[in-house]
Amino acid sequence: MLFNSYEFLLFFLPAVLAAYFALGLRGKDRLAIAFLVAASFFFYAWWRAQYIWLLVASIAVNFAAGRAIVHRAARNEATRTLLVLGIAFDLLLLGYFKYANFFLANVASLLGIAPERLDVILPIGISFFTFTQIAFLVDASRGKAREPDLLNYSLFVTYFPHLLAGPILHHREMMPQFADRTTKRVDWENVARGLALLAIGLGKKVLIADTLALQANDAFGSVHPLTFGDAWLAILCYTLQIYFDFSGYTDMALGMALMMNIRLPQNFDSPYRQRNLQEFWRHWHMTLTRFLRDYVYIPLGGNRRGEPWTSCAIVATFLLGGLWHGANWTFVAWGLANGVGLVVLRLWGRTGIRLPALAAWLVTFLFVNVAWVFFRAPDMASAVSFLGALRGGGGFAGFRLVVAPVTIATLAAACAIAAWPRNSNRIVAEMTFRWPLQVATALLLAAGILSLSNPTEFLYFNF
């Protein structure tokens, strides 16, 4: 089920909230947890019911592995083998469903034979629930997480606001909240703030991201050469589309969780206002950056083994981060570009030269824009062709693609919102409950729901 669907907004979410609080009010906390797990499985099954087994299997194996790790650690026995086996299971699952065909195609290409394709459908959200559970296993082996209760663990993994596209959670930041009895009671202030955040997220997704997507899709799907103007307009639209799409999704997730008195970690914090690439990554998809830092970069040695090693660790981490987003060389190239960009930034930092704030922002923003070309292009050839158009290879004569006035208006609004210092999280944290925000929330909800028809999928579901 998509957040941006009538079924979710008009039926599923209201019904779940009502039942959850009804159980909580009667003091049936355990039943409320069980209900949320059941609702989350239903939410997942709405996509393809037959893939429930995959989610169940993944939970069962990781729960058993995590429990065994904790027990062995308690007896001071080695946990490394169990940890490796658990992570190997997760990676094999992810590898089969997400990367098998990519691997086969590349092997076939190397051998010069016809590629075989496995009849595999990428299970929605698999990258997210796999990473969440890998983090749990590692934390369990470090003594930072333990979960003896299967129902609680199931809720940690399947909790529907984060199941399909994150944020990627730490066990320790969620379980105390789920265990807290007060989270099962209605807190009207949290419901109001959550509702406002959900409305903002919905508006970001369906009013802004989906509108900008039309221009970006036209350009990246065009069979004709793009002019300089076409290419730059398209990549600017895509840069803002992906931000409003994913941060809109996250706002909705955070908003509906807050309505249930659960605080999910923030995932975006005005990334396009940042003045260097490192700051960008500290404000963009923050829970993924945190995961990569804690579970890839630091275990690789981080910055403890000298500059050359640090640079290699950064690039390796971002290559993996790129590949995590999709089984395509374009994602690898995108990860590589960001990794190399961060290394260059470190070297630049050593020179002691500081760019003026505006220039620093411009360089960062342009770099991020150009890197998104690899992220959006269907293949490397298209990406290279698009980069050529950005350099003017397709000519400088105006626009060959149709540019709708609504695209320009939406783009201008999107730029202003992305640049505005008060982002959605701050607006909601600082909001008073006076009538202007009531009107804004009502308008966003109504306009958002009216714009759901023929919904496009959230971009991150395939990652």
Binding site: L10, W188, A196, T441, A442, A446, S453, T456
Partner: protein
Amino acid sequence: MPKRFIRNSLLAAALLLAIAGAINFEVDPFQQYRIPTKYEPRFYRSFQRYENPGVARNYAYDRAIIASSLFENIPGSEMDRAFGYGRTQNLCDSALTAYDARKLAETALSTGHVKEIVFNVDYNSFSGPPDHVGYGDKLPLYLYDRTHWNDYPYVLSIATLRKSLDILAGRKEVGYRTDPDAPWYWADTVTFSAKNVVDELDVNDLNRRYQQPQRTLDGMMKSFEANVVPLVRDNPGTTFIFAWPPYSILVWIDFRRRGQLDVSLDFKRRFFEILSKYPNVRIHDFQARTDWITNLDEYRDMYHFSPRISEALVKDLGAGRERMTPEDYVARIENLRSIALSADLGKIIAAVRARQRR
């Protein structure tokens, strides 16, 4: 205070949605609930997959044309004249797939008054998985059934609301037609000429403009067996008339170059062998009509032919001509294969250019 915020926000949002929904239901721009009487019906090309199920349910007809853009220029009345009986409704969808066709046919058949359905058989409509949709992510299936309770995506839609308000304000936009007899007709908006056809070609990649995917026989058969066979088998009281359309010779050159000729002709053979067993099926083949397919002046591009060819095709259908039979289907297919193999793109283009110079 938070309680009041929640109550007021939700009530105001609900009120706005209720107003929008009431307007959309009453105006009903895509004709889902009734044929409009207070305004001229509008057939929006960009919303065909939304509007056709409503047209299929609400208009009076006993023969439906369910086809891709190749048959959009056939008015229902033209087919009525050619057949000499019945009343035809054109229900074409651009880029129609086998799945799109089945869903639309099921909606039309659910009315209980459809006696004949005319399909064009487009190889490309059998590409992709059996539930492959030709346009967009998925069909608005909530409009293809006979219940209204699940129509909220239509009634609570800004796209519908824009059309409703345009109609209420009497604004006449572009992009729609008003004649139910030829709701999707576009031939009067384009030019049919060999020069245009050749000018638009990428001689190195004839498929560049259409980006048709590669097909496999196995994949095509899966779609055929999931979408066509059940329709024919489960509706013995309805006659299904399939027509293999006259693509220009350029399509066959493209198929040949992309290694799609054999898979296409094998599919055509299997199609006939399976469906010819059903007494409620007629299959007509216009693909080897060299008088049509080599005359590029009758084409808008390498796929789409002119109303002149449409009209002749409809007359042949009505008269039962070019019907495939167990005796001639192999010969027809082999004839088409030899036409495709002997076609020379260089000569075709040179001939068109030479004519231009004259």
